[in-house]
């Protein structure tokens, strides 16, 4: 029996009540059940629980105690510290998403041609993938130290990299970009390999120079990869935690207090799970909107 025959047999079967009929109705749900159990347990239940908690004040154990309605939200919306934190998050995400992409693109273009030492260069550019953000942050603490850090000694400057509000976000972003550059390099390099040589040859015959080929052939050809990488970078930037925890603890003031760090402080340091849950829901809404914008953008500018 061919596949189409068996499908036909199944779809044309009359839906009579009885054992086989119920089974036929249940069958697809049975296949979906494992996925539902996993998602339900680890996504839907926690999500529902977060919404629930965001309308309560919790005691020190995280049990909902006092119904607080939307006051957790209104308290946040009227707090200047919260808006500072939202502003910082957007700056941080934008710097990291595009900075990481630019470094990844530059490094992969540099290693696109074969020359002596290219393997070593590629390995060095990809290396940040293998570095844990916590370990890198500890190393950067020493590099960025205000009085005897390596960076100030090299540049002959006296900049307080993590203690000065004008530099703190920049410092944390640079570290995050460097950490993200490895994965950007790997994916964009792979994308570059996929661009057919014939297109470059034909463009050369037409007299196109390096930059013309870059902007008219390379970038459009790897636009799906670039789009994918931007999304990955944005998600990664929103989730950045350990470098902020270890380098600045959200400071100075609120200069690096990104939303995820603020959620951590509220939930696991101040033990106000209600506010933390409200912040999480707001973060969810922000990420949802960004994702929708990204996909509408994708339809217009990404060529598959």
């Amino acid at each position: 029996m061919s596949l189409t025959d068996s499908l036909k047999a199944r779809t044309t079967k009359p839906r009579v009540p009885g054992k086989r009929g119920i089974y036929a109705v249940m069958e697809p749900y049975l296949f979906l059940l494992p996925a539902f159990v996993v998602f339900g347990l680890f996504l839907f239940y926690p999500f529902g629980r977060t919404i629930f908690l965001s309308t309560f004040l919790t005691d020190k154990l995280g049990n909902a105690r006092v119904f607080w309605g939307v006051r957790n939200y209104t308290d946040l919306f009227t707090s200047s510290s919260f808006w500072a934190s939202v502003g910082v998050t957007f700056q941080f995400v934008a710097i990291v998403a595009f900075g990481g992409l630019l470094i990844g693109l530059a490094t992969s273009l540099l290693t696109a041609k074969k020359y002596p030492g290219v393997t070593f260069a590629s390995a060095s550019y990809a290396m940040p993938v293998a570095i844990a953000s916590a370990a890198a942050s500890m190393a950067f603490r020493m590099i960025l130290h205000p009085t005897n850090g390596l960076l100030n000694i090299l540049f002959g400057t006296q900049i307080n990299w993590t203690g000065d509000p004008r530099w703190a976000l920049f410092s944390v972003s640079m570290l995050t970009i460097w950490l993200a550059s490895g994965i950007n390099f790997i994916f964009i390099s792979a994308g570059l390999r996929g661009v057919p040589d014939e297109m470059y040859e034909s463009a050369s015959i037409d007299g196109a120079g390096y930059w013309r080929r870059l902007f008219s052939i390379t970038l459009p050809s790897i636009s799906p990869t670039l789009f994918f990488q931007i999304i990955i970078n944005i998600i990664g930037a929103f989730q950045s935690f350990s470098q902020i925890r270890l380098l600045t603890q959200g400071g100075p003031g609120d200069a690096t207090n990104v939303i995820v760090y603020a959620i951590y402080r509220d939930a696991f340091f101040n033990f106000r799970f209600g506010t933390a849950a409200a912040r999480s829901i707001i973060l969810f809404a922000i990420v949802l909107v960004i994702t929708l914008i990204q996909f509408s953008f994708e339809k217009r500018s990404v060529h598959y």
Binding site: D59, V66, P146, N160, G163, G251, F268, N270
Partner: protein
């Protein structure tokens, strides 16, 4: 049939014997601590010695739980179902939380039941953990803040290397002499530097003889309901010092906590700094022969302040498991950990105070003091403080301390002036206290 019956009887007898023997096996207890590195190794050694001394009776298992924050969070998470350990080391500012949690077995109950002689414990240290006349936890690793200075640098600029500054007027005066600039006018050595550490704020309140919160500094029968440092002028004075130091270019900002300031002191970028007594050993080891370290009392805000320092660090909390056998075993362990010999070892390995008075008479302790005379300053400072400056107790202390650090940054970055810093800080801590009291 009879054979089978007798077999069953014999078997049950054997089983009975087995269970009788089981009760004679050592009582197992679990100890959670937060001491990493050298300090953690010292704990492991002490527990090992305890197990040898109590072989066949008590067996303690030591479990490292990460930072103080991590340990208290794990207790909190586990507390909803079953208590995970019998003895836990909790930091000073976790005390009010532990009392409010209801999981703790106040040490006082064991002391009263046994008639244990409480006078063995340093009164100023016991005072911190005594609330409403009851000792809740056993002091274990106690420290106070100290002033550390570079004696070699003092000599270099013609200051008396044996005289430490006592207040911020003196610090500013000395710091101006100690500051070194290179040809381009860049500062290569600051006279003074300190970490932005909320603990110091609390200590200065004590030094000024002021309270941090109401209800007898949070030590009354009722927990604190609001901060008072905004009404007494205490916070204003402390922030005034920060502002003055930054504006006059006497210090550069060295980040939250102590680590960056400590690193700057070791690498001779600052000549005077503030740190815990518990850092003495590691400072001495790291500095080595590079320069000579001097120690002085934690500086006063005003020259005529007459309060004192309170202790920080951690204490041992017994958890109420309801199992008398385990609780008694845990009590034996706590007593062992604070016995004079063990405390002398602990002091020499770490730099924490020996909390038992009798330790001072031991040769091991005297030798250590002779080798590191700087430690004497810490003991003198502790003894010259009256127990009434034991420091505040506050359920939301970790959050309050972090807020103090954030607002210090807002002040020195010029976001807020001193008055606005004090008002906003008080408002935020008060709302945290209010919500805590509402929900717990």
């Amino acid at each position: 049939m009879r054979k089978i019956l007798s077999l069953i009887l014999a078997a049950s007898l054997l089983l009975g014997l087995g269970s009788a023997m089981a009760t004679e096996s050592p009582t197992e207890i679990v100890f959670w601590h937060s001491m990493g590195g050298v300090n953690g190794e010292a704990i492991a050694k002490m527990a090992e010695d305890f197990n040898v001394a109590y072989e066949g009776k008590i067996k303690v298992t030591v479990e490292y739980q990460g930072s103080y924050d991590d340990a208290i969070n794990k207790i909190r998470a586990a507390g909803m179902s079953a208590l995970p350990c019998d003895v836990v080391q909790v930091y000073d500012i976790g005390s009010r939380f532990m009392i409010d949690s209801g999981w703790a077995l106040p040490i006082q109950e064991m002391i009263d039941a046994e008639g244990y002689d409480i006078t063995q414990i340093e009164p100023n240290i016991a005072a911190y953990y005594t609330i409403d006349g009851k000792l809740y936890s056993m002091p274990f690793n106690s420290s106070t803040p100290l002033l550390y200075y570079n004696k070699t640098a003092f000599e270099e600029v013609g200051l008396d290397p044996d005289v430490a500054p006592k207040n911020f007027d003196e610090i500013v005066e000395m710091a101006e002499k100690l500051t070194v600039k290179d040809a381009d006018g860049k500062v290569t050595r600051y006279g003074f530097g300190m970490g932005n550490y909320g603990w110091f704020f609390e200590q200065w309140m004590g030094k000024m003889g002021l309270h941090y919160v109401d209800n007898n500094n949070g030590r009354g029968a009722d927990p604190a309901t609001k901060v008072v440092f905004d009404e007494t002028g205490g916070a204003e004075a402390i922030f005034g010092v920060w502002k003055r130091m930054i504006d006059e270019g006497i210090i550069t900002y060295l980040g939250r906590g102590n680590n960056d300031a400590k690193a700057a002191f070791i690498s001779k970028n600052i000549a005077i700094t503030l740190e815990s007594t518990a850092a003495l050993k590691s400072l001495l080891v790291n500095v080595g022969d590079e320069f000579e370290i001097g120690t002085g009392y934690f500086p006063n805000i005003h020259p005529d302040d007459e309060g004192g320092v309170s202790i920080g660090g951690g204490s041992l909390w017994m958890l109420a498991s309801g199992n008398d056998e385990k609780q008694n075993a845990a009590w034996e362990f706590v007593k062992y950990m604070i016995s004079p010999d063990v405390q002398a070892f602990w002091n020499a390995q770490t730099g924490y105070f020996p909390i038992t008075v009798a330790t001072h008479d031991l040769d091991a302790f005297k030798d250590n003091l002779a080798q590191y005379p700087q430690f004497g300053t810490a003991i003198d400072q502790l003894h010259s403080t009256a127990p009434q400056y034991a420091g505040a107790l506050l359920s939301v202390f970790p959050e309050a301390r972090a807020l103090v650090e954030t607002y210090t940054e807002r002040l020195i970055n010029g976001e807020l002036d001193i008055a606005a810093t004090v008002t906003n800080l008080a408002k935020e801590i008060n709302s945290a206290i209010e919500i805590y009291n509402l929900t717990n």
